[in-house]
């Protein structure tokens, strides 16, 4: 995922010399976080993953329209929501496991 370098982008609206606007990629598209958003939606719960998907849609459509700055901003937003979702998911999981370990130990002692 580190292979995309947003700073290498051509200035707004310019095509790099010798590349066609169609077909090959003129400038690298900013990371759209789509795969990560799907994973967060499926495994971490809720609105954050979906916010990631919406922003991924913005990255792809703005990039396709040539709005590289907009795509860049949408990429940052997608990344933000996906990370929030990911860490919330991890947080809930860890809290739940801690809670269960405490409860389980108590229960095991009671059942002796």
């Amino acid at each position: 995922m580190e292979d995309q370098k947003p700073q290498d982008q051509a200035p707004f609206g310019q095509q790099p010399f010798g590349q066609s606007p169609f077909g090959g990629a003129p400038t690298p598209q900013p990371k759209n976080w789509l795969v990560e958003s799907i994973l967060v939606t499926l495994f971490c719960c809720l609105p954050f993953g979906i916010a990631g998907i919406v922003n991924a849609a913005n990255v792809n459509s703005k990039y396709a329209m040539g709005d590289y700055a907009g795509a860049q901003a949408a990429s940052a937003a997608a990344g933000k929501w996906t990370k929030i979702g990911f860490f919330c998911g991890i947080g809930v999981g860890i809290l739940y496991i801690l809670f269960f370990v405490v409860l389980g130990m108590g229960g095991a002692l009671m059942n002796r």
């Binding site: 789509l34 499926l42 809720l46 979906i50 849609a57 809930v92 739940y96 496991i97 269960f100």
Partner: protein, 131 residues
């Protein structure tokens, strides 16, 4: 860089073993989705843990029953994973074009929202989608 992949691999293997050995339907130490806990409604990810357990036991039918969306997304996710693994070992980047098409995230968004609503409709045929 390498450490990240090794850690990821270890976590993936440990989680696979845990989800293979313990069926979340039976053992209750698995985290419950907060959305389901508080609202008693299914979110698009509800049933994923049970679906993973079913998939690890190669029971696709049961996995579809728990979370259709997860099963549908697996071919896409596997394609992305293989592209990344291939790129890592051959040093040649493969870009899967469909991820970058403007229509792809829109379709995914529509599917997620439809699935979310449909699986909460409490009568046939929609209740088959519930977790």
């Amino acid at each position: 860089m390498k450490l990240k992949y090794i850690l990821g691999l270890i976590i993936a293997v440990v989680l696979s073993v845990v989800y293979y050995k313990f069926n979340p339907e039976v053992y209750h130490f698995f985290p419950e989705c907060p959305f389901h806990k508080f609202l008693h409604l299914d979110c698009p990810g509800c049933g994923s843990q049970r679906a993973i357990n079913a998939l690890l036991h190669l029971n696709i039918e049961k996995a579809i029953d728990y979370n259709l969306l997860l099963v549908l997304s697996i071919p896409l996710l596997l394609a992305q994973l293989s592209a990344k693994v291939y790129a890592y070992f051959t040093q040649q980047a493969i870009v899967l074009n469909f991820w970058h098409k403007p229509i792809t995230p829109k379709i995914i968004f529509a599917l997620v929202m439809l699935f979310w609503v449909a699986r909460n409709i409490p009568f046939k045929p929609f209740n088959y989608l519930a977790a």
